[in-house]
């Protein structure tokens, strides 16, 4: 049995339950649609998943630190509207840093409320989701924003350009994934995030400034949202006030699919990339097969449960939960 093999292989292999599910899926889709396994399609899916992917990187780090961030969806709306609106007003070279600064401020508010005041992150970020959505609407007066000169601006490079023949969003996503993977696995900061998420009390007893670590995770998350907003704004060359609506749950689903534990203290940035790609490929594969969009939801349901099940089953070495 597969499971016995997993068990015998020890922890290193056992942690890859999701990778196995992913590969099975890719193979299945390849057989079911001849368009699926083409360079064009793969590239297109990678590019599409870059925006959600970059956000998921930040949320992964927040979740490893033991918290949730549901405000990323409306924060994305905020950042995109801001950067697009400012683009025509003060030019892209100023719009980008101004937007990043404003977004980091929102992240700081999250970080302050959760990290320093120790309020429950689910409710805080849910509240912030609503507050930020309101702020966006007030800022834009509820109107869409657009970039007037869509052809001429170098801002287009982030969403539409390419670096060495690879679409810029893919490059940004890849670089950021590797960067944050390094941060989390090889630096003291990463270690501290894992510790704080795993056992906050013991972290304090070990001299780790827990509040600051949590604060920093929210800044990272906000930064990721900012980067995603640049790609989104540049790709669409405009923005609605609610572009990011619902992204928070897609991002969370990707993080979970990547095997990051919502309890904190465990998870991996690289595996979140896997989660993101898996969701994107499901969406893509089903549309290629001509399925109505809601089958995609049904399949996602099954995939999330089966994949996470495989993952936890592999870790505990048996398929069924020991709960009586």
């Amino acid at each position: 049995m597969l499971l016995d093999r997993l068990k015998a292989g020890g922890p290193a292999v056992a942690r890859q339950g999701i990778l196995i599910a992913f590969i099975i899926f890719m193979i299945a889709f390849t057989f079911m649609s001849d368009r699926f396994m083409t360079a064009d399609n793969l590239m297109s899916v990678f590019r599409q998943s870059a925006i959600i992917g970059v956000m998921a990187l930040g949320v992964t780090i927040v979740v490893i630190g033991g918290n949730l961030d549901l405000s990323v969806g409306s924060m994305l709306s905020f950042a995109t509207v801001l950067v697009v609106d400012l683009h025509d007003k003060i030019g892209p070279e100023l719009a980008i840093p101004a937007m990043l600064l404003a977004t980091l401020c929102l992240g700081a508010v999250n970080g302050f409320l959760v990290g320093i005041l120790r309020l429950n992150s689910l409710i805080v970020t849910l509240g912030m989701l609503s507050v930020i959505q309101g702020l966006v609407l007030i800022y834009s007066g509820g109107q869409n924003v657009d970039i007037a000169d869509q052809q001429g601006t170098w801002f287009a490079v982030f969403g539409r350009g390419a670096v060495f023949g690879i679409a810029t969003p893919i490059v940004i996503f890849g670089v950021m994934a590797l960067f944050f993977h390094m941060i989390m696995t090889t630096t003291p900061f990463g270690r501290r995030v894992y510790a704080v998420g795993g056992n906050p009390t013991a972290s304090t007893f070990s001299g780790i400034p827990r509040s600051r670590v949590v604060f920093a995770t929210y800044l990272i998350s906000a930064l990721c949202v900012g980067v995603a907003a640049i790609m989104l704004g540049s790709r669409v060359m405009g923005s609605q006030n609610n572009v990011g609506q619902g992204y928070e749950l897609q991002v969370l689903a990707a993080v979970i699919l990547g095997g990051t534990s919502l309890l904190g203290g465990a998870g991996s940035v690289l595996r979140t990339v896997l989660g993101v790609l898996m969701l994107a490929f499901i969406q893509n594969g089903l549309i290629l097969m001509g399925q109505p969009y809601y089958t995609q939801w049904l399949v996602t349901w099954a995939v999330i449960i089966i994949a996470v099940w495989l993952d936890v089953a592999a870790k505990r070495g048996r398929l069924l939960s020991p709960i009586a």
């Binding site: 795993g198 304090t204 007893f205």
Partner: protein, 509 residues
């Protein structure tokens, strides 16, 4: 002891035969045989990680054995859940408390079998009446409607023990029940065990305290590395033989007080007050000495340690390091000042359970173990290896998540973590709770060695032999105040007991 001639060829209350249990990477039990007669107290001994708790969890239906048979009252049984074990009359008093903190003591005692009325309602009157009766029997002073979270650890342990009295048990297992009990409660517990024994219940008793084993048990079975090592009649053996069976060598249990050349005063505390935990506390610790803090549970010793480590706001008083007054606002600052604290509760305060052994050990200093921006894995492993050898930590590799180690080995990881910081002041709070005799004496030796190397060491312990063994000076506390200070030379057991129970007049102005 029961008269051997009169003993019928009775059916054992419990027989385990050839039990094998493996965890990923660990063979925790390797063909263990074990037998308890009705009315017998059978002690189970072994080093930390020998597999005692695992064996008992197999018995209680919490783990499924890979191989082996369980025979209860002459009938082979297969128990897949704790519920089934309970129905077979097996009660396990857990090593780690297994209570629901927000619920009342009574509900915890009858957890899983609350008395019912019509419509599935709880019969509160019956519940409280029965629980009060049991607590009465255990001579507990709190009422059964008290919330468990608000009870002291010792009383929580009594609630756990009370469960043994709720059912008609055939076999009761006590897994280190005395680790957090005071002597008074111990006496009650021993009475209860005698009662159960008289009723013909088979009793398994796990402890690292030899004195208890020898006062209570009829037979002793020793495990080592998951293997059965033999069974001894308690009356016909002695501590030395048992120890040798357990750890493969004898222990020198003599008092370790190489007289110290105490140096400069490193840490001084003046009139420190932190209500309601302690008041007006003054003492000092010099380099090269071990100061023991002794008192009853709740006397305020832990709170002092926490204050020194920057975890408590103190209303008044001063802390001086090297004669200079310092403000310690957080553990970070305390660490920077060279203070280390091995906390009392390793699971909650000491360890990140899902992290590897190595990562736990280097956690407080990971910021400094860097090569460029990266953590230097080599430096970390070097530290881990050093303290694994020094403390004889048993783990397959540094990658093992600390949560699956046995309790004693977990404790060693915490000690190693703080020793590796090379602190000037080392505070250890209940350092050997749940640690086997061999490691315990190693830790004692280690504490003495550290002092000899010039560390200032504070040991907080509720075990008198331990305090007497390692301390150069002993500070006795009662109700948040220091009642007396002794030097190793002048202290006697009687005077110490008096000082911690408020009988002797406080030695303060």
């Amino acid at each position: 002891m029961t008269d051997a001639l009169q003993r019928e060829p009775a059916v054992p209350a419990l027989r385990l035969a050839g039990i094998v249990k493996t965890f990923p990477g660990v063979r925790a039990l390797d063909g263990v045989d074990f037998e308890v007669m009705p009315g017998e107290v059978h002690a189970l001994l072994g080093e930390n990680g020998a597999g005692k708790s695992t064996l008992m969890k197999v018995l209680a239906g919490m783990y499924q054995p890979d191989e082996g048979r369980i025979v209860i009252g002459g009938r082979e049984v297969r128990m897949t859940t704790p519920l089934e074990a309970k129905q077979e009359g097996v009660v396990l008093i857990h090593q780690e408390l297994s209570l629901v903190p927000e619920m009342s003591a009574a509900e915890n005692i009858y957890l899983g079998e609350l008395p019912r009325q019509s419509f599935g309602r709880v019969d509160w009157r019956r519940l409280y009446a029965r629980s009060d009766a049991i607590l009465e029997r255990l001579r507990c002073k709190f009422r059964s409607d008290a919330t468990v979270a608000q009870l002291s650890i010792a009383n929580q342990q009594m609630v756990e023990i009370a469960r043994a009295l709720t059912v008609d048990a055939r076999v009761v297992v006590f897994d280190e029940p005395t680790a957090s009990l005071t002597d008074a409660e111990k006496v009650v517990l021993f009475d209860i065990i005698h009662d159960l024994k008289a009723q013909g219940v088979g009793i398994v008793y796990i402890s690292h305290r030899m004195d208890e084993i020898f006062t209570l048990s009829d037979r002793i079975t020793v495990l080592r590395d998951g293997q059965y090592r033999g069974t001894l009649e308690t009356a016909l053996t002695n501590e030395d033989e048992v120890t040798r069976l357990m750890i493969g060598r004898s222990l020198d249990l003599s008092r370790e007080s190489t007289p110290v050349k105490a140096g400069e005063t490193v840490l001084a505390v003046r009139n420190l007050t932190c209500e309601p935990y302690f008041e007006d506390v003054s003492f000092s610790v010099r380099a090269g000495e071990v100061v023991g803090f002794y008192g009853l549970v709740g006397a305020g010793r832990t709170a002092i340690a926490e204050a020194l480590f920057g975890l408590r706001n103190c209303a008044s008083g001063a802390i001086l390091i090297d004669g200079k007054e310092v403000a310690i606002g957080s553990p970070e600052q305390a660490i920077a000042l060279g203070i280390s604290l091995v906390p009392e509760n390793r699971k909650e305060q000491g360890l990140v359970l899902q992290m590897s052994c190595r990562d736990n050990m280097t956690l407080p200093q990971v910021q400094d173990l860097t090569a460029g921006p990266f953590v230097s894995s080599g430096a970390e492993i070097a530290i881990f290896d050093q303290y694994r050898d020094r403390l004889a930590i048993k783990t397959p590799s540094w990658r093992q998540p600390v949560g699956v180690l046995s309790g004693g080995n977990q404790q060693k990881i915490v000690i190693g973590k703080w020793l590796s910081m090379q602190p000037r002041v080392l505070i250890v709070d209940e350092p050997t709770r749940g640690i086997d005799v061999g490691s315990k004496s190693e830790i004692h030796t280690l504490l003495r060695e550290l002092a000899a190397q010039g560390y200032a060491v504070i040991v907080i312990s509720s075990e008198m032999p331990e305090i007497l063994r390692v301390s150069d000076r002993i500070v006795a506390m009662y109700h948040g105040r220091i009642t007396r200070e002794f030097t190793a030379a002048e202290v006697t057991e009687d005077s110490l007991v008096q000082a911690i129970s408020g009988i002797a007049a406080p030695a303060e102005a």
